[in-house]
């Protein structure tokens, strides 16, 4: 502001110097006249009288002075004219400057940017109205104050550092984000751009422009927090996320996904790199799934194993949703969960169940011991008797080879039959199961029936088989299914033990339905009380005097694991009816 007075002062100085010029010329003439007079009075005498010479000189001087005066006067007029013209131009320029300054002042005052000018000590030299208003102060309240008053106490150190940095690099722009504190104590976030400049008077000042970024900062903070929550949630749930552009074969991973796959974090991962960490046995199926997904552009879901560099095996479950991105191309957004712990628990549970199933199976076989002995003993009796008969035919005179040969064939058949029974029993006693294969349910039933014949006989139970012919195959573990049927049959036989007033009949039925096979085992026994029906499948629940109460519970879990359902059916007539379903075997189950 001090600069404004500079130009008028210069004009005044020019005016004064012009009149001094005229005085100077006058003075010079005057001085020459004085010098001539002095010379006439004091100088050596000449031929002419001194006053004449003096008079002549004075007259000459006068004449010269007049000529000089006129010349000076003319020059002065010319100069004044020039000066006047120049002053007018200056006037216009000043006017223009004034306008421009006012304009810039407008900009300075009302631009929605806070401007501060502080000195090296941080004292506010200038602030725009907007800047002051934003902080809840008037301009006057801030001027001359330390700029620290608009910062939180804990940030002042940083403010000092920033100012110092500016002062160290004059002319260079620095920027930073910092909190400011309003007069009412509320805070706002600003981004400050600052640089130190040297004023004309040599003083170093720092010019600061700052914009309110509170909203952005809040959004950023919210975003950061949400990202943090997300990362934390991912870490806790062992679920990573990923994005995959099918056509680019490149995948973007979240931090947790990197952790799950055991990779160092990089902006994106190549599909091939991921494949290397997938268990060799699962690569083919993963590849197929991914291929299909990139072809069909549809949601997909799959499970596979990872083989970590240290040999550890991880189980992961991945699920992806197909979404159109901004450019209209398909992007998969997916989640991948480390289910190793769950798998391990499942495996342990499965093992426990398998062991329990084994125990109950062997227990059931124990109940069938007499029946099994009978099933082996019958063919064995035939074998021994036939062998004896064979010897007698051979001992005849002459030996009857034809008879002996025929008998030998019977022996082979009967021996195989006994072997089959033992094989079947051994399979049931065997612990390793869970080998699912496509099989005919009627065959499984026939094999079980083969083991319980004697049991039926000794309990005077007649068996009716209504097996639907040519049923489609089911994918199942033969032994486990035998166990289920065996259990239901034994239960049925036992339930009919007290029955004396009606025929003891056990019926096994199979029926093909739309997408499943229905197996029904019904008896004419004591039936199931309605209030017990719900608890029937609970572990350790039993209505029998002996027995663990595990049978039906195990049967249900076996049927469940085959994707079917075991249930007791509402009573039709006397006795109980149990039925279970099994889904039909399909060549390939879609993911």
């Amino acid at each position: 502001m001090a600069e404004y007075s500079v130009l008028p002062m210069m004009r005044n100085l020019a005016t004064k110097s012009l009149s001094a010029e005229q005085c100077l010329l006058g003075s010079i003439v005057l001085a020459l006249a004085v010098a001539a007079c002095m010379w006439l009075l004091l100088g050596p005498p000449r031929a002419a009288p001194a006053y004449l010479i003096t008079g002549a000189l004075l007259a000459a001087l006068l004449a010269v002075s007049l000529v000089m005066m006129r010349m000076v006067g003319r020059t002065q007029r010319r100069m004044e004219a020039v000066l006047h013209g120049r002053a007018k131009g200056e006037q216009r320029a000043i006017e223009a400057l004034r306008n421009s300054e006012a304009q810039w002042k407008e900009v300075f005052e009302h631009n929605p940017v806070m401007y501060f000018m502080v000195d090296a000590a941080g004292t506010v030299l200038s602030v725009n109205t907007f800047g002051a208003t934003q902080l809840g102060y008037s301009v006057d309240e801030l001027l001359g104050q330390s700029v620290h008053m608009v910062f939180a106490a804990e940030d002042r150190h940083m403010v000092q550092g920033n100012v110092a940095a500016c002062l160290d690099n004059i002319g260079q722009t620095h920027s930073w984000e910092i909190r400011k504190v309003r007069k009412d104590g509320s805070e706002l976030w600003v981004r400050e751009n600052a640089k130190a400049v040297r004023r004309l008077d040599g003083q170093l000042i720092v010019l600061i422009a700052c914009e309110d970024i509170t909203e952005r900062k809040q959004a950023e903070n919210a975003l950061r927090q949400s990202q943090m929550y997300l990362a934390e949630a991912q870490r806790l749930s062992h679920t990573g996320s990923y994005g995959w552009h099918a056509d680019r074969r490149e995948i973007i991973w979240s931090e947790e996904t990197f952790r799950i796959f055991g990779f160092d974090k990089t902006p994106s991962i190549k599909f091939g790199t991921v494949m290397q960490h997938i268990h060799p046995d699962d690569r083919e199926s993963v590849y197929r799934t991914v291929e299909r997904a990139s072809r069909d552009l549809k949601d997909f879901e799959h499970e596979y194993r990872l083989l970590m560099p240290d040999g550890e095996i991880k189980y992961v479950h991945a699920k992806a949703h197909a979404a159109k991105d901004a450019t209209g191309s398909t992007e998969f957004v997916g989640a991948v969960t480390d289910i190793t712990a769950r798998k391990r628990a499942e495996t342990e549970l499965h093992e426990a169940q398998t062991n329990l199933a084994h125990v109950t199976r062997v227990t059931a076989l124990g109940e069938l011991a007499a029946s099994i002995a009978h099933e082996v003993n019958q063919p064995l009796t035939a074998v021994v008797t036939n062998a004896a008969a064979c010897l007698r035919w051979l001992d005849r005179e002459p030996p009857n080879i034809k008879e002996a040969r025929g008998i030998m064939e019977s022996i082979i058949t009967d021996g195989s039959r006994a072997g089959d029974v033992i094989q079947r029993v051994r399979a049931l006693v065997n612990k390793t199961t869970d080998q699912k294969a496509p099989l005919d349910i009627n065959e499984v039933i026939d094999e079980v029936v083969g083991l319980v014949q004697y049991e039926l006989l000794s309990h005077r139970v007649s068996l009716r088989l209504e097996l639907a012919p040519a049923l489609p195959l089911v994918l199942a573990d033969r032994i486990q299914l035998q166990q289920v049927i065996l259990n239901l049959v034994i239960n049925g036989i036992e339930a009919m033990q007290p029955v004396t007033d009606r025929p003891r009949e056990l019926m096994i039925q199979t029926r093909g339905e739309a997408r499943q096979i229905l197996v029904t085992v019904s008896d004419h026994g004591v039936g199931v009380a309605a209030e017990n029906a719900d608890r029937l499948f609970d572990a350790f629940y039993t209505t029998k005097s002996s027995g663990m109460g595990m049978g039906l519970s195990i049967c249900r879990s076996i049927v469940d694991s085959h994707g079917g359902r075991l249930s007791v059916v509402g009573d039709a007539g006397p006795g109980a009816t149990f039925q279970f379903t099994l889904p039909l075997h399909q060549e390939e189950n879609a993911w």
């Binding site: 003993n377 074998v383 004896a388 005849r396």
Partner: protein, 222 residues
């Protein structure tokens, strides 16, 4: 299934036959093989019902029965036969753990019981014994029925006289008893001895005992 079939061609009427009832075809066939190998005629049946349905040859025979049969058990079958007055000797075949049933079978008159699997010789011995017993029993039955036929051919008066004679009464006493002349009694006695083919009086007394018309049934012995 061989139902009530004779495994060997019918020879003379007296050739003994073994009947086998077992629900297991293998066991039936094996037993058939064994008996045929020693020249015995065999007929095999899958159930008691089949056995009862078939017409049995009237020859010395025995029945080999599995103690556990579907529907009608071996024991029930035994009782049924007894009720129908069919006195065929029965050999039971049992599995393990059928002791109580075996005891019941033996008490009900079974000839023998064999535990499966049995020794062939044991089975053949049991069958031989059973058939022998049946033959004897059949012989006894035949003698008796012959006697009964002869006895039936007597006139009522002759039957009365025979009863009194075999009871040890003198001719005079008989004449007084039935109110005829002693000479008439003598004529009746002659007819009786001839018609009954009795060689002597003790022979006639034995016949009377077999017929059950001894002292208890016929005449009075004061």
């Amino acid at each position: 299934m061989v139902t009530g079939s004779l495994a060997s061609p019918p020879a003379n009427a007296e050739e003994p036959t073994v009947f086998v009832v077992d629900d297991d075809a293998s066991v039936r066939e094996a037993l058939s093989n064994l008996f045929r190998s020693v020249g015995l005629r065999v007929a095999v049946f899958g159930s008691a019902h089949e056995f009862l349905q078939s017409k049995l040859p009237d020859v010395p025979s025995c029945l080999i029965l599995d103690i556990r049969l579907p529907r009608l058990s071996g024991l029930d079958f035994q009782a049924e036969l007894a009720k129908a007055n069919i006195n065929i000797p029965i050999i039971f075949m049992t599995g393990h753990g059928d002791i109580p049933m075996t005891v019941r079978a033996m008490k009900a008159g079974a000839v023998d019981f064999l535990t499966k699997p049995f020794r062939d010789q044991d089975m053949l011995d049991a069958v031989t014994t059973a058939i022998e017993r049946d033959r004897n029993s059949r012989d006894e039955t035949k003698v008796l029925s012959d006697l009964q036929a002869l006895f039936a051919a007597l006139t009522p008066r002759e039957r009365q006289v025979m009863t009194l004679v075999t009871a040890g009464l003198m001719n005079k006493q008989i004449a007084a008893e039935i109110g005829v002349a002693e000479i008439t009694v003598k004529i009746h006695r002659g007819h009786i001895m001839r018609k009954m083919a009795a060689k002597s009086l003790p022979d006639l007394v034995r016949m009377a005992q077999m017929l059950g018309i001894g002292p208890g049934s016929g005449g009075s012995q004061t």
